[in-house]
Symmetry: C2
Subunit: 332 residues, 2 copies
DNA sequence: GTGAAAGCGCTAACAC
DNA sequence: GTGTTAGCGCTTTCAC
């Protein structure tokens, strides 16, 4: 049995409106009314019906989050950061996975919109015009991937600079053949990291050899395949930059399978720092991203928009920095 | 601008009721009416208001999930399994983290209830009577942790047997001093694994030495501390069973810090298989759990309850099995 | 087959 | 300070 405000009002001997004001904390209500209303509510075990409330207030206190896959530790950490930032304001996260599939993303967004979420946070693989359509009707924050031409807030990591630092570091260690294992460049962050890699090569006067680039996909298995493809070449690179944690995973596995020593045979620098990077031998040199902060910042931005902030879109870029451990060969 | 059914009806030249039937796929509507209604809906970019729909249908097509921390890969995988199982039926997951804190869990549940989720999936740290109160008013499935005396479905792993197998394996390898690093036994699954550990010792005629038991907490750092405490003892165990992935992480780190070789100095078996367990050296022997299936099963059970299934609570126990790799010393 | 009307549980004017 | 009333956008009888 679930009770309504009407029941509470009846039990408390008040009108429904007074009970609402007494419990809702808005409008006027005498101390006596508050007392009686909360008493009745407690006795009945009354939980306000958020659905009815949402229908009139036009706000559900929910926020939709669409990521590629919540099992990806990167997204999990971002989701956590987001949920924490939202919780303080009494908002909850509605979660959906897109598997990096534009159609699935669109479906998820549509479902979320029909739930009338107050706002949307997307690690999107969608197209700019679709996203603009969405942004026009609901607060939107792009997470991890800013998409050119989209009129919405975004919180991203400085992928270009991060990738550039990683590759420059490898160059400074004397490497001339530096390979990259990357997810598909249709993912904005992957494209930026690829660009940073290319830029660093060019700055070092190194050729942009297509034979050094291996494009995987959005799973660990894809990373594994792509890394192997690169490492099995006769002219395999002496150093590898893996541009996300799945690619890094795949490379570590492939290196081990092929019996290649790190950093002796191949030096390795990954993008994104996970718990296990210090557990493997040697510990991994990585570009570390402020992941939880990414989510938290998205949350704060979204809350501001929900609160009516109409200022021009903000593009926040968080710095990523290189953590030098053993796999690059800089330290023993 | 967001349009309502009334707008659609007006544009289509139909009554609101007919438009509703035409679009909603319930009741009768002529092909012509369906045609005109969907036409108008498309032209206006109409998205049905799920909130209003929920108010009358008394179902929101959302399911609440409360876990300790979505960043824990175990929960992330379960969440994914759940979301996938639900998606087919058009349900979405509302996510909340409890940090294994009963008060935070209660708050999260209350928030979810006020959102009128159709059902709840909990990896709970709560008390039986609180959970029974919840179960009385809403479909509830306990995930990963069944709690004695709770009248609700549960989907758990056979933790006792899993832990027993792990320890028996260590015993069969000749170990007599087998330590355990466990999360707090107030967490049901931890208690069961502890019980399985003790049972295996007893069956092997080994004493139950309190000096072999180290209780951590619900973070990697806790696991690290607890593992170190055990490994720094003068009479440290020759083998370690770590009863969840955070404890395993902590143990691997502590072993490395202390310069202990695995399995030479200390053999290691962990509970829960993560991606990185094959990346460390030696690869970890673990008890593997069907994590995604855990979530998916919870989803199916919950959907059945939401659909009106009134049969007695089902307790589903999924098997966990030992994967022997290098860290236990059985293979080289 | 379609339309008019009631009502889901709540908030917000507006009287009193 | 409190009660009455309208209405949020939808579904669902019940006439026609």
């Amino acid at each position: 049995m679930t009770f309504t405000l009407k029941d509470v009002a009846r039990v408390a001997g008040l009108s429904q409106a007074t009970a609402a004001r007494a419990l809702g904390g808005y409008g006027y209500a005498s101390p006596d009314a508050v007392e009686r209303a909360s008493d009745a509510a407690r006795r009945l075990g009354y939980t306000p019906n958020g659905v009815a409330r949402a229908l009139v207030s036009r706000t559900t206190r929910t926020v939709g989050l669409v990521v590629g896959d919540i099992e990806n530790p990167f997204f999990a950490a971002a989701a956590r950061g987001l949920a924490d930032a939202l919780e303080g304001e009494g908002h909850t996260v509605l979660l959906a996975n897109s598997d990096e599939h534009p159609a699935a993303e669109q479906r998820a967004i549509e479902a979320l919109r029909s739930h009338r979420v107050d706002g949307l946070v997307l690690a999107s693989v969608g197209r700019a015009d679709d996203l603009n359509t969405i942004a026009a009707s609901s607060p939107l924050v792009l997470l991890d991937r800013s998409i050119r031409g989209v009129h919405a807030d975004s919180v991203t990591v400085d992928n270009r600079a991060g990738a550039r630092h990683a590759v420059e570091h490898l160059v400074s260690l004397g490497h001339r053949r530096i390979g990259i294992v990357s997810d598909h460049p249709s993912i904005a962050s992957s494209a930026e990291r690829l660009a940073g890699y290319r830029r660093a090569l060019k700055d070092a006067g190194l050729p942009d050899d297509p034979g050094l680039v291996s494009i995987g996909g959005s799973t660990r298995e894809d990373g594994h395949r792509a890394a192997r493809a690169l490492l099995e070449r006769a002219d395999r690179p002496t150093a590898l930059f893996t541009s996300n944690n799945f690619m890094t995973y795949g490379a570590v596995l492939a290196l081990r399978e092929l019996g290649l020593s790190v950093p002796g045979d191949v030096a390795l620098v990954g993008f994104d720092d996970l718990d296990w990077t210090v557990l493997v031998d040697p510990p991994l040199t990585v570009v570390s991203q402020p992941v939880a902060e990414l989510g938290a910042t998205a949350g704060r931005l979204l809350l501001a928009r929900i609160g009516g902030d109409e200022s021009p879109p903000r593009r926040i870029r968080l710095p990523a920095h290189l953590i030098v451990r053993g796999s690059c060969g800089a330290v023993r």
